[in-house]
């Protein structure tokens, strides 16, 4: 019900307001101009995504305007505004947070530029964005829980290493896991603490857990691989065998966790595919050519286990 905005009546003006900029790219019909507002560079996973997008842009001959938001929504909004000024064909965003995009997306819409959400959703009405490409954090949490149950035979004490408090990945991965956990009455989370998605904190928190619950921990669920890697070190320092004495399940699927799995120190990683570049630009092309695109383009994901890690690692690109 947000159609009746004050900007509604003169919707046409802003579109006209950038005629020189927005018509110019359209003159050289061939070249696709895309603006991409990336969140930042906070993890290995994100790095892989960035790499994939830059790479795909080059391969597909797209004129990419790339902006790194340094983890700040303000910066991403500024970037989108600037893209509008520059008159790009499509704007891609990996929103750092779900909310708060209404205004700027509207501006893009008025300028006739479609928005593509990448890997995270935004809480705006459906008409404000063209499509969403990416996965589902809740699903990842559920999968992780299923894997944990498989490893522990549905019975045991788990400690959870959460991501940064308030980050949507952390909240949803926690939610997904907790939901699924209801199906396994003999498994329970005995301690849960934030490790800020980092190895150092993951290790520090795990150290404290090991002392507070000596011999009681059977599994570690980490919201990302990095914290799991930190926890593995803490477990080793405690004289235990990670992956054997204490099972490790984490999310993301970065290369280092595969190495750990090969070494037998980690058990499962639930992948969340960052290599969205080709898919993203395909969607952009379609949008420019006026083709229909689905509202949700799902990315391909997988679950990788210790048993097959030695094989899988050969295909890992990041």
């Amino acid at each position: 019900g947000q159609q009746a905005q004050p900007t509604g009546p003169d919707q046409s003006t802003p579109t006209q307001s950038t005629p020189s900029e927005s018509t110019q790219p359209k003159k050289n019909e061939g070249k696709l101009v895309v603006g991409f507002a990336q969140i930042g560079q906070e993890s290995g996973w994100r790095d892989a995504e960035t790499w994939s997008i830059l790479n795909a842009a080059e391969e597909m001959g797209v004129d990419l305007k790339f902006s790194d938001g340094q983890q700040k929504q303000e910066n991403q909004i500024k970037a989108i505004r600037t893209f509008i000024q520059q008159g790009v064909d499509v704007i891609g965003v990996a929103p750092v947070v779900e909310t708060g995009w209404e205004t700027v997306f509207k501006e893009a819409k008025e300028a006739g530029i479609p928005i593509v959400l990448v890997d995270r959703r935004a809480a705006v009405s459906e008409d404000l964005y063209a499509t969403f490409i990416g996965s589902d954090f809740i699903l990842e949490g559920q999968n992780a829980c299923k894997e944990m149950a498989r490893l522990l035979n549905g019975k045991g004490n788990i400690v959870e290493l959460q991501g940064t408090v308030g980050a949507s990945a952390a909240t949803d991965r926690m939610k997904g896991f907790a939901e699924e956990l209801k199906n396994y009455p003999d498994m329970k989370i005995i301690a849960s603490q934030s490790g800020d998605f980092t190895r150092a904190k993951g290790k520090e928190v795990m150290e404290a857990f090991l002392k507070a619950y000596p011999g009681e921990i059977h599994g570690v669920y980490a919201h990302n691989d990095d914290m799991a890697l930190g926890a593995i070190e803490a477990i080793k320092d405690a004289g235990l065998k990670p992956g054997v004495d204490i099972k490790i399940v984490s999310i993301d699927g970065v290369k280092a966790i595969f190495e750990a799995m090969v070494a037998g120190e980690a058990n499962v990683t639930v992948e969340c595919n960052p290599l969205l570049g080709p898919q993203f630009f395909q969607v952009c092309k379609d949008l420019k050519e006026g083709k229909e695109v689905p509202k949700w383009v799902k990315s391909e994901e997988g679950i990788y286990r210790q048993e097959t890690a030695a094989e899988d690692i050969k295909n890992r690109k990041y």
């Binding site: 905005q5 700040k72 000024q85 909310t99 308030g166």
Partner: protein, 329 residues
């Protein structure tokens, strides 16, 4: 007389000139940069920061520091989103936010002055407190769909067919004007300068130092809350992780605008230009359009460094510079 104005506001003058140079450089280098809307976007995108920087400037001039402002913004966004969701009247919410900001500022100012707690530490505690309070409300972000908020957020004031500003910009400019008047023409403002120049002397001259120091933090808290409200217009949501590190942007803006962190010197208009300069650096980087995360950081820092060093060198050689001006004239 004109010479007097120039020499007294020399640093501000240098800052403005360098700002224009940056804008010009951007315009020459990037297509589409030289447009009214790009310029106005600097205000639209940084309105909240301008407001916060104005409040902070008073604290810095008084010789203190307030690193809680970023968390105040996050907290205000969070709490107003929460309250609006629960059907509170938007105007009541806004008033309440301003009240909370001011009260928080008052408490920090009170313990800073009366219990001699170092400002950095007291406001660091404030920072943790506000941030923590955000997560008590909710760990996820909350959307604001109150019609009043969305109307204000989306309203565009047309200046020309191709140029508009938002209501937030108007608020920010009003704050700058009010701040300038307060700093230059009110007893309170002048007393702030005196306290920052020499607290002991100010006390011996009979100024109510305690009250002024507390008020300065109240003002900063108020501005931070107002900045928070404007920021919630900007994003129409509340989110606990919002604006981490914003206090450094505000402090840096103020310093770029000529404020001395040791107190006693600074101007509100200067701080506004400080914000605009950081904004334009950001814009240049986005226009560049091919910087990776790390090059973005390096580029921001280099531009900032270049700017500050230039400003320092010109100001340090101000006498030589002035002599030249005189000779030319």
């Amino acid at each position: 007389m004109k010479k007097g104005i120039l020499s007294k506001n020399f640093q501000l003058f240098v800052t403005i000139v360098l700002f224009l140079v940056l804008f010009l450089a951007g315009s020459l280098r990037y297509r589409g940069f030289f447009s009214a809307q790009v310029f106005l976007n600097l205000f639209i995108d940084n309105a909240y920061l301008i407001i916060i920087a104005v409040g902070l400037t008073f604290v810095l001039i008084s010789g203190g520091i307030d690193i809680s402002v970023a968390s105040v913004v996050a907290f205000v966004g969070m709490l107003s989103a929460y309250l609006l969701q629960n059907g509170w009247n938007p105007y009541v919410v806004m008033l309440l936010m301003l009240l909370i900001g001011s009260t928080g500022g008052f408490l920090m100012g009170y313990i800073i002055h009366y219990f001699k707690i170092q400002p950095f530490i007291a406001t660091l505690a404030g920072q943790f407190l506000y941030r923590g309070a955000c997560f008590i409300i909710s760990t996820t972000s909350i959307i604001i769909d109150n019609p009043v908020y969305t109307t204000i957020a989306n309203y565009q004031i047309k200046l020309a067919p191709k140029a508009y500003i938002s209501i937030s910009v108007v608020i920010a400019l009003l704050v700058v004007i009010a701040g300038t008047i307060m700093a230059r023409f009110s007893k309170f403002g002048r007393a702030v300068y005196a306290v920052g120049g020499n607290e002991q002397s100010a006390n011996l001259m009979g100024l109510p130092v305690g009250r002024i120091k507390v008020l300065v933090y109240v003002l900063s808290g108020f501005c931070a809350a107002l900045g928070g409200i404007v920021f919630s217009f900007y994003t129409l949501s509340g989110y606990g992780l919002q604006n981490i590190g914003l206090e450094m942007d505000a402090i840096a803006s103020s310093v770029i605008g000529g404020t001395l962190l040791t107190g006693g010197v600074g101007s509100v208009v200067g701080s506004m230009f400080g914000v605009l300069i950081q904004g334009i650096i950001q814009t240049i980087i986005i226009f560049q359009g091919n910087l990776s995360s790390w090059w973005t950081k390096v580029a921001v820092a280099s531009l900032l460094c270049l700017f500050i060093v230039l400003q320092r060198i010109i100001s340090a050689n101000r006498d030589k510079f002035k002599r030249k001006m005189l000779n030319n004239a």
